[in-house]
Amino acid sequence: MKNFIVIKNLDFCLDSKPILKNINLTLDSKEFISIIGSNGCGKTTLSKLIMGIYPYTKGSIKIENREVSEMSLFETGRKIGYLFQNPEKQIFTGTVYEELSFTYKYREDIDKKKKEREIQEILDTFDIGYLKNKSTFFLSQGEKQRVALASVLLNKPKFLILDEPTTGLDYKRKEILSEILDKYKNKIGVLLISHDYEFVKKHSQRIMRLEGGA
């Protein structure tokens, strides 16, 4: 879908300090876009504004022509999958399998067979089948991230926001993440927030630089 997310004249202040100034941005649903910029330039803030985590006062953010300020968090969460900078925050259960099943717990439209098939598919795609019964407490940073991303994707979002996904990952883990992202290229839209320019350049169709909130 063209213009999946449309941001117009967005300003954002936190404790009277301007963080973002006059942001205008259009994101399509199958596009891979990246935002780069130095620490504290407002990249994560922008992503949180898109998700409706922070309320904005000036300007407009629309997801599929609906104003984000009028949407609940669960509604934006169903349209856009969000991977936190620290994936620990979004792992709620004791084992990897339970974590992947969590997505289905509160959905009525899924039968057991379909659920098992989808979980197996995502375990294969992410190459985390060997972690299926492992405790989430003992996962490495890279494994936690893959489990969190897999859980988010099981929700079948149309768009994905990844906040600094390469932080704390070594070369090999970055490669694994790259392979996963390649599998989803042109299937869903991705907004990648990072200051890892090499990683960004490798995947993005469009790169935007955020500097001083503009």
């Binding site: 609940s72 669960f74 969460g77 988010v152």
Partner: protein, 243 residues
Amino acid sequence: MNNPIDPRTKLFLVLCLSTIGLMTRNILLLFSISLVGLIISKMLGGDFFVLIKRIRKILYIFFFIVIIQSIFTRQGVPLINVGGFELVTDVGLNRALGYIFRVLIIIISGVIISTSSERDTIQGIIQLGLPYEFAFMTAIGIKFLPLLMEEFKDTYLAIQLRGINIRKLNISERFKITSYIFIPVVASTLNKAKKISISVENRGFRAYDRRTSITSLKLKYRDYLIIMISLTTAFAVIYFKWI
């Protein structure tokens, strides 16, 4: 945060206020202590109402206890009678009011203590003779409380971002989903505790029996005066049985 009163003086003040508050059953005295405490906290730069705003979500529990206490106390003269049932008696009302004022005194005490910086309060506790390890643990606890709250909020948010409409769930489902919040919070707390223990060991924590401190608190005349006034008042209240 910084004000001219020593944190130890504040601890004495709080000790006097809360001791009388716990000992007395006199509603008028409890009201007076609350009022005095409120004035002192305001004079020290504390903001009672900001704290009340922060804890407003748990205040209903106190009100629930107050109502239960006033309704289920059967002694005394009935004040409100509904269909032959003594709903509220004077003793019940007295107990409920006493409970409200005692909770209020605890909150005000917290506000008074919080007008000193965390570092000064800890230094004050150490200079009162408490072992450094306990003071350090208290400091860590105080420091991590807001972080813990932040993590609770983030996880609650992450659950909703997983597409779950919490408002639509029934009470048992809501209760169950709240339990999911604890897993990431406990995991991160354990991780933090592990990292802190490693880093403090690396920096020579408890390497020597005695520690020196850069900051040192000194009681001034006004501190002695406040301690004397508060102790005298507390003793007078207890001695003359105004409680």
